[in-house]
Symmetry: D3
Subunit: 156 residues, 6 copies
């Protein structure tokens, strides 16, 4: 038998049955980072002092992407997300994004938090690529997962 729950006994992909699971409050947090040159960060910070649309656009893109997760991940269940947030922090060599997704439902929201992180970072890349093309997106990972039968999980 496969350890991969999304694969049935014959090796075929399927959407796992969650109909027997309880509706509980579930939450996931994820993070990721985009590394960029000082010049690129300066351009984004200059925009922050003006209208700030670069990070506002990336935040909206992340939130909207969380809602599209089941349309992007073939085996994710459609979920009625009850909260999504996307936060940015300037670090030494780029921007760190941290996302949170919450749900009252039958399955976890890790993929929603991770998708919001990835798309927010890609949107920063998109809006800054005229200045710099060799930015790198990295360190995308789950930070925590709470709620549900399997209990809490925290990244080390």
């Amino acid at each position: 038998m496969s350890k991969l729950t999304h694969i049935d006994g014959d090796g075929a992909a399927h959407m796992v049955d969650v109909s027997g699971k309880a509706d509980t409050v579930r939450e996931a947090r994820a993070e990721g980072k985009i590394t960029m040159a000082m010049e690129t960060m300066e351009a984004i910070k200059a925009n922050m002092l003006n209208k700030g649309d670069v990070l506002a656009t990336a935040r909206i893109a992340g939130i909207m992407a969380a809602k599209k997760t089941s349309d992007l991940m073939p085996l994710c269940h459609p979920l009625a997300l009850s909260k999504v947030s996307v936060d940015f922090t300037f670090v030494d060599d780029g921007i760190r994004v941290e996302t949170l997704a919450r749900l009252t439902g039958k399955t976890g929201v890790e993929m929603e938090a991770l998708t919001a992180t990835s798309i927010a970072l890609l949107t920063i890349y998109d809006m800054s690529k005229a200045v710099q093309k060799d930015m790198i997106i990295s360190d995308i990972r789950l930070l925590s997962k709470t709620g549900g039968k399997s209990g809490e999980w925290w990244a080390k």
Copy 2:
């Protein structure tokens, strides 16, 4: 004036005018990586010997996501992609994905290649997360960009 082309003179986001650009063949390649434990790689390799649906699903997810790029990135233009491919390689500590997007059109396809990479990696995470939750997605970057007025660009 902003160096960020997606921001107008007032600091507001807009979709850049490409109506005056020529229809040429444009191509972009991107890559990324998911780091995982030996046990997780073994589970995926075992599936490869069986039906192989894990990587087939991730490949399809990446290709379909490339087609959704303008729906995910707020300021990307809708594009009639003429080719997308997604390839996987097992490396020492995980799986590397390389994607290619091609278009005959008025603007580049970097974001399409990068989106395919990101979503393919997230799908591998989704299908393997029952085995391991602390996988890390990293090194997502543009490898090359050809076609269009700005000429060729290759990652160092």
Copy 3:
């Protein structure tokens, strides 16, 4: 603190947490109007006597748009709508649309009713614009909102 619930304490947009709210039957009604020339109304009424596809198409567009609300409004929650209806009335100088959305869930459906109204009106515009381009869409507003903790609200 902001009075705008979709904005957090730092002024950033987020999707508000509704996980603690009760699942109750919630309903919203909205209305709007498209003003047109007599000639345009006559063309639509002539179609009513034939197959009636103009208003049938606008009705379907409105119903389908209500289901897309959370994909259109960046901070709207995805909702499992339990009923949507779209009704048209010919008035002196155009067509009035009234919509109803209902849900058993954790948050209201005002935006779903308003989106159905707007898209139904735009569809009438689209199907009639070969006859008249200066039609005006106006008076889009919420008529009532019932269910949920904040109680009933009726437009004056």
Copy 4:
């Protein structure tokens, strides 16, 4: 009064109210078939021995389409599917697909199972049409429906 529940007393389409219905486990199974030449079947079977991406792609397409049912069928309710599976069997003159959809919710999932069947079959057509254009898709029908007030239904 119309026997067609999706049509109101005036003959107009609407999305039926299910807000008063109970949340129960509901399930539907559907099937369909694509008839093809021996040469086409051989090409697909040869791929099965290699990576097997033809049927893996069709399976993923079917599962993802089930999740899009309410976006395709104008009057279907958006549903939080809890399970979807798509299975293929080679028969004498083609490939048979059988799908299953399950939900804990207020309305049945027949359309989700039928949509998964139809799109999986169309995807096989798409991937094989370079070999054969006159394949025929047929015998798409509901096999069973369980759960909900109206009770069980089984195809004869």
Copy 5:
């Protein structure tokens, strides 16, 4: 080498390169049928005499589905369709649908015509299923394909 163009030399799925193909007018026609009981046909015909929303809804669903083809078929190219039509004919034991899709572009529109056919038929099923559950959808096939390098093709 595979005869299946959507599969590369390694057996993996990819979106075929059409960037070198010419922009020409391409057209495809498809058909399909839904078999139903006399009682169900009578209910639909009765609606035709009233507002006619059953077939109007199915027509709109078919047209909109044609536009979603590349979102449903994993390896279909996004296409800028220039025309879609969906026509219904009552036959002895059900309803026949015929669809037409046209494009000025680099690849054929067979899948667009077939998708419009399938979704129009499923919508008729959806709107009539309260009356009859054992309707059968069948005989979905390509009728003709014109334009492009491979020339014309007509079903026998």
Copy 6:
């Protein structure tokens, strides 16, 4: 014969054939207004001084909606928009939005500009409705249309 181009000779809806039209630069501008209380305007202006996410979110919603026009209007052609912008002006009793859509293609972009206007206004409503529910959206109309065989059109 119908004057409504989206209706064929039998009164049925269809997507009009544009395959014979020339690819030219086409542009449309639209406007609309949301009327609100002084208190609501003050809350939005206070946010402008902070991060400004209210209008940034509405701007992004409008731009993204323009790209979804053919998915919302049943008979609109899918278009490869080359530019979209959304601008806001505070007026005495509310906020005015003006949008611009541009395309090199075979058909006009009036519906794209009007859809961007409508969804931007609805997003302002959504983000402000905790403060005021009786805001009214009105005066949505086409301002101008240029390019294409039918020539220029300007609102009086």
